[in-house]
C-alpha cells in the first residue's frame, strides 16, 4: 500500500459506485515493473491518460492490412485492424497483433554500424552523415549495372523509389523476394493465369461467395497471399446464419491448419494433384452429360485413383459434389505448386473451375485488381530468378548489394548458395531493422525504422475487390537512432549528384510519397479526394490509405479453357529416401516472426507446439521405426541434414514427413537465435516450369539419433492422445 494514501481518500473513493468499489482492495507489495500506485485504484477502473489512435499499415507480411494503433504517452500500446480498409475490415492476424513486440524488441539495430571485417561479429557505430556518405560513395564509385538492390515484398513505396532510381541511372532493377512468396509459388500462379487467361495476374478466389470449395494444397487460412481476407472469405463460406453452409474439401498429403477445417480431407499422394483435378473434371463432366471436353479427355479416373491413392468411389463422390453445386470453386496452392509439375497442377486446378464456369462470377475466380497507383502486375522474384542473381554475384557482376526488408541468408535455401556468392560482392549494405543473418554478413548496417515508425504505402496485391493503397505513417517517434531508408537513399543520391540527384529530386521521404500520391488526388471513384496535396496526404494518413469505391477485379478470359489439353503427369521427386518431404510455413511465425516472444509462445494451430521446430510423422510410420514423440531424428536430404524432435501427427501420410519453416535462426535476436532448425536448408536446387522452387519436390531419409528433446506443447499428450494414461 503506497504511503501517500490515507483512509479518507479511501472513503472518498468508496463512494464512486458499485462497479468501482467492487474491487477496491487492500495493500500489498507494489509491482516491481510499473510506477508505484495505490492498489486502491486498479488501473482497470481508472483513466490513465488519453490515448491517441493512428492509422497505418501492417508490415508483418506483404498483404498490406490496415492497422489502427493505439498509442498512449508516446508509446504504441495495441494494434487493431483498420475497419475502413477494404482488405481486412478491422481484423488482424496474430502476427499483426504481435508487431509491437517487433517495435519494442530488445534486440534491434540501434545505430548505423560498420563491420570491422566481413563476417566478423565486431562492429563500430557510425554517424548518419558518414553512413549517407558511404551509400553515396557506393552509388557513384561503381558502374550502375554493378549495383543491385535486393528488397522484401514490403514496403512498396521504397520499391517504387528504388525502381525510379534504377530506371533513371541504369542500375539493375530492384529484385524483390520473400520466403512467403516462395512458399506461395506466386510465379507459378501468375504464369498459370497467363497461360489460361492470357493475362499474368494473381488470381482472386472468392471463397466467401462459393458453395463448394476444393482446395488443392492451398493453405489460405494460414499465410497464403492474404490470410486475413481469405479467413473472412472462409467465414462467409461457412456463414450458416445467412445462407446454406458451404462445403470445403482439402486435398493434401499433410493436414494443414486449413485442411483441419475441411469437411472432407483427402490425403493424396504428393505429385498427383493435377491428375486428381483432371479426373474429377472428367467425372464431373460425365455427370453433367454431353461430350467430355478436351481438357479432361486424356485422363483415366481409374488410373488417377490408383496413382493418387484416392479410391475411385471417393473421386466420383467428389465429382458429384463439385458438379452438383451451383458455386463450386477449385483453388491451387501451397505444396501442390511447389513441385516439379507445379505449373501443370495450377493449370489443371484452374481448369477444373470451368466445370462450374465460375470465372468472374461471385464465388468464382477473378483476376486481382491492380492497386490505385499501379499500372501492371508485379510479382516477387521466383527462386530461379534469385538463383540468377546469385550467379551474377558469383561472376563478380555485382559489386554493391543493397539489402532491405528481406533476409536471404535465412529465407533462401542454402543450396542456392547465396552465402557463397556474397564473398564475391565487394560491398554489402543492409538496411535491416533487426540484426538478422544477412545484416550480420553485411559490411554496413544502416537500420531502417520499424514499420510502425515509418512513412510509406503498400499496394494490396490481392484479397480485396476494390483497388487498395494502404498508407503507412509513424505512430511513435523512432525509439532508436534509426533512419528511414528512403531518406537515406534520397540524401545519398543528392550527395552522389548527377543522374542520381536528378532521379530523386526530393527533400525527403514524405515529399516522395506526395509525388507518388499526387495522381490520385482528384481521381474518380476514390475514397478520398482533396484540392491540394497536403490536405490529400492528411486524409491519406488519417484514413490509413486510399482505395477505389467500386469493384475492379478483372474477369478472366476463359473462353477456351476446356479446349486446351493439360498435362496430367505426376511430379518428379529429387533425392532418394523413403519419405516425401513437405516444408510448410509456420502459421504463427511466418518468415520473420521468430524474434517476437509472444509469437513464439503462440501454440501452433495444428500441433500446439511452442518455441521450437518439429518433424511431423504418421503414427504407423513412427511405430514401425520405433520412434516416439519427442525422439530427435535426423532428416537427411540430398542437400543437407537436420535434427529435430518428432511430433507423431495423426493426419499425415505414412510416406510423408513435414516440418514448419520459421525457426532455426543463427542471428535475429535472443528469442530467435539457436532455436529449432530451418527446413529450407534441406531443400535442393529444383524448380518448376514457372521457375518457383520445388520445395515439396524432394524425398528424404530419416535416421534415429537416440536423443530426446521434449517439445513444449499446450495440449496434453494424456488428454488428446491418451499417452501416459495407463493401458486400458
Amino acid at each position: 500500500m503506497s504511503e501517500q494514501f490515507s483512509r479518507r481518500d479511501f472513503l472518498k473513493l468508496a463512494g464512486v459506485g458499485a462497479a468501482t468499489t467492487a474491487v477496491l482492495t487492500g495493500c500489498g507489495p507494489a509491482s516491481r515493473y510499473v510506477k508505484r500506485e495505490p492498489y486502491m485504484q486498479m488501473p482497470e477502473y481508472n483513466y490513465n491518460g488519453q490515448s491517441t489512435y493512428y492509422a497505418t499499415t501492417c508490415r508483418e507480411c506483404a498483404a498490406g492490412c490496415g492497422l489502427i494503433v493505439r498509442t498512449s504517452q508516446g508509446r504504441a500500446i495495441k494494434t487493431e485492424g483498420n475497419a475502413n480498409n477494404p482488405l481486412n475490415l478491422g481484423k488482424t492476424c496474430a502476427r499483426g497483433q504481435a508487431t509491437l513486440h517487433g517495435l519494442y524488441n530488445p534486440d534491434r539495430v540501434t545505430d548505423p554500424l560498420k563491420r570491422i571485417s566481413r563476417g566478423g561479429a565486431s562492429t563500430q557505430v557510425m554517424e548518419w552523415d558518414a553512413a549517407i556518405q558511404a551509400v553515396a560513395d557506393a552509388l557513384k564509385d561503381n558502374q550502375p549495372e554493378e549495383i543491385a538492390f535486393l528488397m522484401g515484398m514490403a514496403p512498396d513505396h521504397l520499391f517504387d523509389l528504388v525502381s525510379d532510381l534504377a530506371k533513371a541511372t541504369g542500375m539493375n532493377a530492384p529484385i524483390r523476394f520473400g520466403a512467403l512468396g516462395m512458399f506461395e509459388s506466386r510465379a507459378t500462379l501468375s504464369k498459370a493465369a497467363e497461360n489460361l487467361f492470357g493475362e499474368a495476374s494473381l488470381p482472386f478466389f472468392d471463397v466467401g461467395g462459393a458453395q463448394v470449395v476444393f482446395s488443392f494444397g492451398a493453405n489460405f487460412l494460414e499465410t497464403w497471399l492474404s490470410p486475413v481476407s481469405y479467413t473472412r472469405g472462409f467465414a462467409g463460406l461457412r456463414e450458416a446464419r445467412t445462407k446454406q453452409r458451404g462445403k470445403f474439401v482439402q486435398f493434401e498429403s499433410r493436414m494443414s491448419q486449413t485442411g483441419g477445417k475441411a469437411d472432407e480431407w483427402i490425403s493424396l499422394r504428393p505429385g498427383s494433384e493435377a491428375l486428381v483435378a483432371l479426373a474429377i473434371g472428367r467425372l464431373a463432366s460425365e455427370l453433367r452429360g454431353g461430350p467430355i471436353p478436351r481438357a479432361f479427355s486424356n485422363v483415366d479416373p481409374l488410373d488417377a485413383a490408383s496413382k493418387s491413392g484416392v479410391k475411385l468411389e471417393r473421386l466420383e463422390h467428389l465429382a458429384e459434389m463439385f458438379a452438383g453445386s451451383k458455386g463450386a470453386l477449385a483453388i491451387p496452392g501451397g505444396a501442390a505448386l511447389g513441385q516439379s509439375n507445379g505449373l501443370a497442377v495450377a493449370e489443371a486446378v484452374l481448369a477444373l473451375n470451368a466445370i462450374s464456369d465460375n470465372f468472374g462470377k461471385p464465388g468464382g475466380i477473378y483476376l486481382s485488381a491492380l492497386a490505385p497507383n499501379q499500372t501492371e502486375y508485379q510479382r516477387p522474384a521466383s527462386a530461379k530468378e534469385m538463383r540468377e542473381l546469385v550467379q551474377k554475384m558469383f561472376d563478380g557482376k555485382i559489386k554493391v548489394l543493397f539489402v532491405h526488408g528481406v533476409n536471404p541468408l535465412f529465407e533462401l535455401p542454402t543450396s542456392l548458395e547465396f552465402r557463397g556468392a556474397i564473398k564475391y560482392v565487394s560491398q554489402i549494405i543492409s538496411f535491416a531493422t533487426f540484426p538478422d543473418e544477412t545484416a550480420r554478413e553485411a559490411d554496413y548496417v544502416f537500420p531502417d525504422h520499424h514499420g510502425l515508425e515509418s512513412w510509406g504505402y503498400q499496394r494490396v496485391a490481392t484479397g480485396s475487390a476494390q483497388p487498395v493503397l494502404s498508407g503507412a505513417q509513424p505512430v511513435v517517434s523512432p525509439y532508436y537512432n534509426t533512419r528511414a531508408t528512403a531518406d537515406v537513399l534520397i540524401a545519398a543520391a543528392q550527395l552522389a549528384g548527377g543522374t542520381f540527384a536528378e532521379a530523386l529530386p526530393f527533400k525527403d521521404e514524405v515529399e516522395f510519397l506526395q509525388s507518388k500520391a499526387a495522381s490520385l488526388m482528384n481521381a474518380a471513384d476514390g475514397s478520398i479526394s482533396a484540392a491540394d496535396i497536403n490536405t490529400f496526404m492528411a486524409y491519406f494518413q488519417q484514413h490509413g490509405g486510399y482505395w477505389k469505391l467500386s469493384d475492379a477485379r478483372g474477369i478472366p478470359n476463359a473462353a477456351d479453357v476446356l479446349n486446351r489439353t493439360f498435362s496430367a503427369e505426376e511430379a518428379q521427386f529429387a533425392g532418394e529416401g523413403e519419405f516425401f518431404f513437405i516444408p510448410f510455413v509456420s502459421p504463427t511465425l511466418a518468415e520473420a516472426g521468430a524474434n517476437k516472444p509472444w509469437l513464439q509462445e503462440l501454440p501452433d494451430p495444428t500441433t500446439t507446439v511452442m518455441w521450437n521446430t518439429w518433424v511431423e510423422m504418421n503414427p504407423e510410420t513412427a511405430h514401425e521405426l520405433g520412434i516416439e514423440n519427442d525422439d530427435v531424428v535426423k532428416v537427411v536430404s540430398e542437400a543437407a541434414e537436420l535434427e529435430a524432435p518428432v511430433y507423431v501427427y495423426p493426419a499425415i501420410r505414412p510416406d510423408t514427413i513435414a516440418m514448419p519453416f520459421g525457426q532455426g535462426h543463427t542471428a535475429y535476436g535472443r528469442y530467435a537465435e539457436q532455436r529449432g532448425v530451418n527446413p529450407a536448408d534441406l531443400l535442393g536446387q529444383h524448380f518448376n516450369e514457372a521457375g518457383d522452387l520445388a520445395f515439396a519436390g524432394m524425398k528424404v531419409k530419416i535416421e534415429k539419433t537416440g536423443k530426446k528433446k521434449p517439445l513444449s506443447r499446450l495440449e496434453s499428450l494424456m488428454g488428446v492422445y491418451g499417452i501416459g494414461l495407463g493401458e486400458e
Binding site: A14, A18, T21, A22, L24
Partner: protein, 169 residues
C-alpha cells in the same frame, strides 16, 4: 509444617488435629500426586475453573457470531461469491463451533492460572520431598499451641515437624 511418608498417617494426623481444635482452614496439604480430599477426609476444594471455562465458551461463541453474522455486513459494498448468501448456512456452524471451543479451552487454561495464582515466584512454604511422594501438612497456629501440636504430630508418625519457613522454590 509436618511431613508424612504415606497417606494413612497423614489422614490420621488431620483427623487428630481437627479433634484438638485446629480448624480445617488452618491446614493445607501439599502432595506430589493428586491426593483427593476424600482420601484425607478433608472438605472438598472450591474451584472456579468450570465456570471460567463456561464464560470463555460464551465469549468464543460471541466472537464466532460476530465473524459469521456481522462481518459480512461490514463491507463497503455487498460481496457476493458464487450465488451464495452473504451469511452462508452450514459454514457458520463450523465457525461457531471452532471459536466456541477455542474460547472455552483458552479460558480453562487461564482459569488454572487465576485460581492457583500462577505464575507466582514469591518465596513460599514448601519442602522438596513433596515431589518424592511425601505428604506435607501446613498448619497455621498460634505460638502457644506449637509445642502441643509438634508432639502430637510426631506421635502420629510424622517424619519431621518443624517451623516452615518460606523459601525460594
Amino acid at each position: 509444617m509436618a511431613v508424612f511418608a504415606d497417606l494413612e498417617p497423614a489422614a490420621d494426623a488431620i483427623e487428630h488435629l481437627r479433634s484438638i481444635g485446629v480448624h480445617d482452614d488452618c491446614m493445607n496439604v501439599i502432595s506430589g500426586i493428586p491426593v483427593t480430599e476424600a482420601m484425607l477426609g478433608r472438605p472438598s476444594q472450591w474451584t472456579n475453573v468450570p465456570r471460567i471455562a463456561l464464560g470463555g465458551a460464551a465469549l468464543g461463541f460471541l466472537g464466532g457470531f460476530f465473524l459469521a453474522y456481522v462481518t459480512p455486513y461490514l463491507y463497503p459494498y455487498p460481496i457476493q461469491v458464487g450465488t451464495q448468501a452473504f451469511v452462508p448456512g452450514p459454514p457458520t456452524v463450523v465457525v461457531l463451533f471452532e471459536l466456541t471451543m477455542l474460547g472455552m479451552l483458552l479460558a480453562t487454561f487461564l482459569g488454572v492460572f487465576l485460581d492457583s495464582l500462577f505464575p507466582n515466584y514469591r518465596p513460599m512454604k514448601y519442602v522438596p520431598e513433596v515431589s518424592d511422594g511425601k505428604i506435607a501438612i501446613l498448619i497455621e497456629c498460634s505460638v502457644m499451641d506449637e509445642k502441643k501440636l509438634t508432639d502430637a504430630l510426631n506421635k502420629l508418625g510424622a517424619e519431621s515437624v518443624q517451623q516452615a519457613e518460606a523459601q525460594h522454590l
